[in-house]
Symmetry: C2
Subunit: 113 residues, 2 copies
Amino acid sequence: MARAATTSDAFNAVAEPRRREILEHLAGVELPVGDLVIRMRLEQPSVSKHLKVLRDVGLVRVRRNGRHMMYRTNAEEIRPLYEWTKTFERLWAHQLLRIKERAEEKEKALKSE
Amino acid sequence: MARAATTSDAFNAVAEPRRREILEHLAGVELPVGDLVIRMRLEQPSVSKHLKVLRDVGLVRVRRNGRHMMYRTNAEEIRPLYEWTKTFERLWAHQLLRIKERAEEKEKALKSE
DNA sequence: TTGACATATTCCCATATAGGAATGTATATT
DNA sequence: AATATACATTCCTATATGGGAATATGTCAA
């Protein structure tokens, strides 16, 4: 079996750096394809193809305005990724706590010299 | 150009569902490969190969214990994904707010009937 | 040393890209 | 209708899989 399609879910779709970049540009802002092409210095077909992947998984919404296709990020679809990563939060919090504890131990040791 | 390697970064590594599953199993718990094989009902070579990808990007740590290789999730490497998704938080919060507002409008309209 | 056990690695192949180049489609303007 | 503008789609190719099968490596036990 080969790798899962980029359009199989949000996880696969955002694995591509240029697509994450697109989502950042379209966060809370509606933009036509041409603007992305200029800002990202990427060929128009490439931008359109990335946008198609993002559309397929619902990460962006489109609206036609004359000749322009206005895209914007649909953050709701990013949320599951947020929720998944968040389940590991306690782990890195633990690690930070242990680092803090060690730092305090060190300080204590210094004072008692 | 083909798709970026699964080992190029954490984003690509966690795009694979079985690898996310592994990270969940190893969250805060050290386990040998054999345990993952049983729990995930996946062939041992597959598990080992997924573990290699996760090791390459630092998402898991290993320690040898006799014949057993003890793996555990290194949450620090998941944190960047969390931080990235978190930057979109305000957007879905907005959306929720708008949904709430609409609900209130509706209620208001019902009361004034 | 010889097995037995636990994992890693290699070889295989069908599949899915990402970008470049060329072309197709839809809409506005004159 | 004819042309220009804005995007989308198709064709192409080098590359990277993920799992199955077979094999290699490393460690413990007798």
